[in-house]
Amino acid sequence: MPTNLVINGEDRISSRGSMTPLIDVLRDEFFLTGAKVACREGVCGACTVHLDGRPVVSCLVPLGTVEGRDVRTVESLAVAGEPSPLQLIMEEHDVVQCGMCFPGILMVLTSFFQERPHAERDEIKAALVGNICRCTGYERLVDAAVALARRS
């Protein structure tokens, strides 16, 4: 049975099986390759997207559970091609290395800052506990996030 869902504000229909992980639908069917498949076990956070505004690891979300729901991916953060303040501050602080972890990290932090715009360093680190960066760029990443929290 087809599944209706809203992806980055657009109505979409997927005919994949109900147990298909959401990440595969996003990447293989709609070519939204921003979110990454890295572990398929919910450990690394690289596939994080927003489901009804909450961050979820999309490798562990079966398609059958998202009927009628709102999905947002990293591709939705920029508005009319203009990066979000979070994306801009990561660029300013020269945080990016290989870049594979960022789609997930940005989705986690975007959601986190909506609730805690003035968060302190330790809270930011705690928020990122589910995201692995193998280039180990954590400190600079947290520095940038702290700078954003102080600016807002």
Binding site: R27, D28, F31, L32, T33, G34, A35, K36, V37, A38, C39, R40, E41, C44, A46, T73, V74, E75, L77, A78, P83, Q87, M90, E91, D94, V95, V96, Q97, C98, G99, M100, C101, F102, P103, L106, I132, R134, C135
Partner: protein, 647 residues
């Protein structure tokens, strides 16, 4: 000859790939899905050692969606470093759990997996050797009974039975040193486990076969190795293999070898369609080319005054079922475990040992991480035995100007000593944070380390375009380290007096760029950078010659700056580089320059080292680290309380 104005160099250049990586638009190899794409799956052995009796693909070929199956007969060649001991598919025998038996391409990944499972394989299990101790026991089964028949690619290593390779260092008389009656003898031994890189983008490839050539688009550090090894394994001319490299999502040494590319290449040729092979995380964990597990035994003869008169060590490195990178890495013990300190005499033996386990590979500062750990722990044990403060011991013994390294290489300049002094001042400035450890275990160490820039050949070509921009063509790869998006544009821009934004850097492409050893060992900025400097000098000479005629001024009075050629000291007197190139189009043709780089070739002492791929280190890199840690004895949680680096 006029040179570029150093004041024009652009520092702190933002990464040009950051924006798309943050927007989720960067297309890594795993994100590339061309039309008509087939998906590949690999059938792997589930036991560690066996004889292959029969492989039957009849049923698998009839499975839905199956387009091609690749087997050992499709890849007759063997590859390796030092010894060609590694077939693409298990051939006749299985040597490790996870070894590749067959590969299938189908319309979907699930169909490919189902067909791989449907291949019938009859095996006769054999007793495996799973540890180095098992492999070296008298009468142990041989992982490679035919080891004597293998093609030798590099001469000099001692081999035999399950010893894939031995590299040795002998300098001076250690027997005499250990027999002295004025020395304390300290012996230490260490064992370290394997380590997996877990790059977030695992190994991945998309291959096509068109016009009689393979095009391999892959997540690798070594495009030229992939080209050459694919050619060797498939038994086709290397000129038929074309390798390109999209942005790489982490590598850390794991992708310093050719691994999955040939499977996709064979399947693409057989099916006539693009084939994608992406290893699952499970496959990555099973066959990742880990940093090897190793056993290190080291002993030293030291006087009460702290002079190291003799040092002996044996390092066993588990290379797994095939020699691979470990054959080369036996070389490195001389410069890691045998490094840092002045030694009156030294005797080292490093052996790569075959076991029925997955092959190992390169990993950041290969061989150096555990050998530095072992050496510095051993140094602490020496200091305890002779009652000397470790920092004082290190200051007396670190290599200085004119001192000999393990292989008799003469070091130049006092580097480590002043770095230790600098670290001592840093330590004095900031008090210990031991109190933060509370009830947890606390430890502190100040250690010295030597690593090196792994140089080797590189080449670069620069096209200077009629709009004043430059296109740099190399086989360098962007792994996240920044070389291709920051360092190289900065270097070329500085040499040509243009802005880095006007330097286009082409992604690695073996059809466009000449040979390169690959990205690893900190070599790309140095080696590709040096080749780029040479190419830029070639370009600069050409444009200065033309500008000299245009401006009626000798070339040595011309300066390149801000995209212009100026007469030195007279601002605004010259013309734009773009206009000079446009003039070149009329008189000499488009402006192109090329440059190359090779090892400087530091000498070692003749006769010291055997079985070594490099006898001396060309560009040594020294560092001093100081760290305080707290460890929770119940959970094992480690907290770094302070960390200081002098390098």
């Amino acid at each position: 000859m006029a040179t570029a104005d150093p004041s024009g160099a652009v520092m702190n250049l933002p990464r040009r790939d950051a924006r798309d990586k943050l927007l989720g638009r960067t297309r890594y190899t795993v994100d590339r899905m061309p039309p008509r794409l087939l998906h590949a799956a690999v059938l792997r052995s589930e036991i560690a050692s066996a004889r292959i009796i029969r492989i039957d693909t009849t049923r698998a070929r009839r499975m839905p969606g199956v387009r091609a199956i690749a087997l050992a007969e499709d890849a007759p060649g063997m590859h390796g470093i030092g010894i060609a001991d590694h077939p693409l598919f298990a051939s006749g025998v299985i040597r490790f759990h996870g070894e590749q038996i067959a590969a299938v391409a189908a319309d979907t990944y699930e169909q490919a997996q189902a067909a791989a499972r449907a291949i019938e394989v009859e095996l006769e299990p054999l007793p495996p050797v799973l540890t180095m101790a098992d492999a070296l026991a008298p009468g142990a089964p041989l992982v490679h009974p035919d080891w004597k028949s293998y093609e030798i690619l590099f001469e000099g290593g001692a081999r035999g039975g399950n010893v894939a390779w031995e590299a040795t260092v002998i300098r001076g008389d250690t027997d005499a040193a250990f027999a002295r009656d004025d020395v304390v003898i300290v012996e230490s031994s260490f064992r370290v486990g394997r380590q997996n890189h877990v790059s977030l983008e695992g190994r991945a490839v998309v291959a096509t076969y068109e016009d009689g050539r393979y095009h391999i688009e892959t997540s690798t550090q070594v495009p030229w190795t992939v080209r050459n090894m694919t050619s060797k394994l498939l038994g086709v001319p290397a000129s038929q293999v074309h390798v390109t490299v999209p942005p790489v999502g982490g590598a850390f040494g794991q992708k310093f070898d050719c691994t999955l590319e040939p499977y996709a290449a064979i399947l693409a040729r057989k099916s006539g369609q693009p084939v994608r092979l992406v290893y699952s995380r499970q496959e990555e964990m099973l066959t990742c080319l880990c940093r090897e597990n190793a056993d290190i035994k080291i002993r030293s003869a030291v006087t009460k005054e702290g002079e190291i008169v003799g040092r002996e060590a044996v390092v066993l490195m588990d290379c797994g079922a095939y020699g691979g990178e470990q054959i080369f890495l036996t070389t490195m013990t001389a410069h890691t475990l045998g490094g840092n300190y002045k030694l009156g005499s030294i005797k080292l033996a490093t052996r790569a040992i075959y076991t029925n386990t997955p092959p190992n590979g390169a990993f950041r500062a290969c061989n150096g991480v555990y050998n530095t750990f072992a050496l510095e722990c051993h140094t602490d044990e020496i200091c305890e035995a002779i009652g000397m403060d470790p920092l004082e011991f290190k200051r007396r013994n670190v290599l200085g100007d004119g001192d000999l390294g393990a292989t008799g290489q003469v070091f130049e300049g006092d580097v480590l000593g002043p770095m230790l002094d600098r670290m001592e001042r840093l330590r004095e400035k900031s008090p210990s944070r031991k109190h933060l450890a509370g009830d947890r275990l606390y430890g502190r160490a100040t250690v010295v380390g030597t690593w090196f820039i792994f140089v080797g050949p590189s080449t670069a070509t620069i096209n200077l375009n009629a709009d004043g921009s430059a296109t740099l063509i190399t086989a360098g790869v962007e792994l996240g380290q920044g070389t291709m998006v920051q360092a190289l544009p900065q270097i070329v821009a500085h040499e040509l007096g243009i802005h880095p934004d006007d330097v286009v850097v082409r992604n690695a492409d073996t059809d466009a760029a000449g040979f390169d050893l690959g990205v690893g060992g900190g070599r790309t900025t140095v080696s590709v950078g040096a080749a780029s400097v040479a190419a830029a000098a070639d370009v600069r000479n050409k444009i200065l010659k033309i500008a000299s005629e245009l401006l009626q001024t000798p070339p040595d009075r011309l300066v390149l700056r801000d995209g212009r050629v100026e007469i030195a000291g007279i601002e605004g007197s010259g013309t734009t580089i773009a206009k000079v190139v446009q003039r070149a189009h009329q008189v000499t043709g488009p402006v192109v320059g090329s440059g190359s780089f090779a090892n400087p070739g530091a000498p070692a002492m003749p006769g010291c080292a055997a079985g070594h791929f490099i006898d001396a280190i060309d560009i040594p890199v020294f560092n001093v680290h100081d760290c305080e840690v707290a460890v929770d004895p119940e959970t094992g949680h480690v907290e770094i309380l302070s960390y200081k680096v002098v390098q």
